[in-house]
């Protein structure tokens, strides 16, 4: 077993007489995205602040690459923390500095780089985080989402090995929340840092997380993959996950993966053996290109619109859907035949191409410079299953049959001028 990057051994943190963390044990591994979930005020931020040395535990040991911080020399501690970056819940931007100055600050103060090199790095990071128009603006002149992106750009400017995100999506609307999570996942893959998140966004964080840590009643009650969390039996699930998932359904109209599976099981039990159902796997193929050219918000708009249209057409047949990967949806339609689904699929793609396309591009027109248009390919694969079939094998079968069923043509800005 690899040595954990960060390990807590019986860590206790108190504020006066109040114990916030009680003998917490956890391991965080290098190169992974680890998300700490828990209710508000349960001590998630305190946990994160102890990792970067902003708070010290009353009892217990924090180990960095297997070595206790308490036994390290001051230089070693500084070197360890220098590999980390922290994105604050409320951004903690310097309000008397412009976006450029905020992002450049760590380079200006901690490196000997020349002005030209700092300019190059800062402007590149600003472009990557889609803040090109806000370089000379102050944080108070930016929206909440843009401020988050400035904080993210500042956290990544020194190319850290470990990035700690304290509620990176707090105060954002559902579309932007997913855009920020997508952005974190994309940067994590691109730059290869270890990401440690504190988040409420269940189940959205499951898509980007390798490991989940559940903080409940002052202790870490679960450590494992999102899939392992599905089978975890603990009061934490009732109190935290179920309530957050109910909220998620209310906000997006889509079910979480876990709800999807439960619904599937219930539907199957209701039927007699031998009755069929269909599984459809949808995917948006050029999502990465959209992110690269138009940004995460634009990509999120496409996913959101797609989710709404899938639900509109297949929901009326008793179908239910979940988002499986960043660009993939699974829809299950009970009591259905392949031929019926193919007809509905035709209707869906026609409707989505006519109305959905206009809706998406109406939102994009402000963002799309001439010549930067990206067409979106919609892939779909259908497979039929029976109640005794493993749902995973039916999903895999549908995925293997995926093919392009339609394209959302980009509407250039000049068309709007006509």
């Amino acid at each position: 077993m690899a040595i954990p990057l960060i390990e807590f051994k019986n860590v206790t943190k108190r504020f006066g007489t109040k114990t916030v963390l009680d003998r917490v044990n956890l391991q965080i591994y290098e190169g992974e995205v680890t998300t700490i979930i828990g209710l508000s005020g349960s001590g998630k931020s305190v946990l994160l602040k102890q990792m970067i040395g902003l708070m010290k535990p009353e009892e217990g040991t924090i180990l960095f690459r297997g070595k206790p911080l308490s036994e390290m020399k001051k230089k070693e501690i500084i070197a360890s923390f220098a590999q980390m970056s922290y994105m604050f819940q409320d951004n903690a931007l310097f309000d008397s500095m412009t976006v450029y100055e905020n992002v450049a600050l760590p380079l200006v103060e901690t490196t000997n780089l020349g002005k030209a090199e700092i300019d190059r790095r800062v402007l590149a990071r600003i472009e990557q985080t889609e803040l090109g128009d806000a370089v000379h603006k102050y944080p108070s002149e930016l929206s909440g989402g843009m401020q988050k992106r400035v904080a993210l750009a500042r956290a990544l400017i020194t190319d850290p090995r470990i990035v700690l995100f304290d509620e990176p999506t707090s105060g954002q609307d559902p579309v932007r929340k997913n855009a920020i999570l997508t952005m974190i996942a994309q940067y994590q893959r691109k730059f290869g840092f270890t990401a440690i998140l504190v988040s409420h966004e269940i189940p959205d964080v499951y898509f980007i997380s390798n490991r989940i840590l559940a903080l409940y009643d002052r202790q870490i009650v679960f450590q494992g993959t999102p899939e392992e969390l599905e089978n975890f039996d603990h009061p934490f699930k009732d109190e935290v996950i179920y309530s957050l998932e109910a909220l998620q359904k209310e906000l997006s109209g889509l079910y979480s993966k876990r709800q999807f599976e439960i619904l599937n099981r219930v539907q199957m039990k209701r039927k007699e053996m031998g009755e069929k159902y269909c599984v459809i796997i949808f995917a948006l193929e050029e999502l990465n290109e959209i992110i690269a050219k138009l940004g995460h918000d634009a990509a999120q708009e496409a996913i959101h619109a797609m989710g709404l249209y899938v639900d509109k057409h297949f929901g009326s047949l008793g179908g239910f859907s979940t988002r499986n990967r960043l660009n993939e949806f699974i829809t299950m339609v009970p009591y259905s035949e392949l031929a019926d689904i193919q007809v509905v699929l035709q209707d869906f793609i026609k409707d989505f191409q006519e109305k959905g396309n206009n809706e998406i591009w109406a939102l994009y027109r402000k963002l799309v410079p001439l010549g930067q248009c990206v067409d979106l390919s919609i892939l779909a694969g259908v497979a039929q299953g029976r109640p005794f079939d493993e749902i995973d094998s039916v999903i895999e079968s549908a995925r293997s049959q995926q093919k392009e069923i339609g394209r959302l043509r980009c509407i250039e800005r000049r068309r709007e001028k006509r």
Binding site: K49, I52, G53, L54, I78, F81, A82, M84, S85, Y86, F88, D90, A92, L93, F94, D95, L105, P106, V108, E109, T110, R154, T158
Partner: protein
Amino acid sequence: MAINETRQNRLENEKKQQEDILLLRPFTLIGRSVINGVNHLGAATIFLCLAITKIFGRKQLFKTLQQVYYIGARSMTIIMLVSLFTGMVLGLQSYHALVKFGAQGAVGSLVSLSLIMELGPVLTAIMITARAGSAIAAEIGIQRISEQIDALHTMQINPLQYLVSPKITAAFISFPLLTAVFDLVGIIGGYISGVILLGLNAGVYTHSVKAYVEISDITNGFTKAIVFALIVSTVCCYQGYFAHMRTDGRGAKAVGLATTSAVVISCVLILVSDYIVTSLLM
């Protein structure tokens, strides 16, 4: 019967204990305040020492110059205004007092010595406290409660080096310079009221300034200015830096209280230290 007696004894004991507590309360409060005061004094001293060790850190020059502009140059107008009227009032009062003894020729020396040795350093320090000290406490306090100082920690930037040291250095530079301006403009104010408005001989006024003011008087005045710079910059930065640890308020209220404390404590310490320094220099 026995139970009743025991209960009565217990009640009497409790009453006596409460009376004792009431009698001891003032001492408890005084003791607590003294312990608090000593704690803060110790913490502020360590804070100052740590900040001073970072004064010559890398890239400090530009930040220090910015603070000199903010604390020093931008305080110039108010310092000149206050010193002009202080000098004029001093000239007016001293003329009317000295004319009774036929010693109006000493107006120049009285005005200049009062300003250089006492009023210049003290009033300059108080004016800078009101103008820049309060702003320093509020600025650092807001940076503390909005986690900007924590953000500096996470970026491996020493907050004392980044925020506090340039302000302390700038105070060391600005206070004596502004005191010199105060003294000069104050003497001109005394000239306006004594010579131009009251008809005193100009030569007599300037001669009395030159004849009685010694270089030691000027260095004593500057010594005071440096001591006040140390006090004001430390108190204001310290109050802002630890605004989040106040027990009497949180958030914006804590910043407000920190700013008030910074101004009040600085002014009191200016006057107390003025007496101590004067008695040591005499």
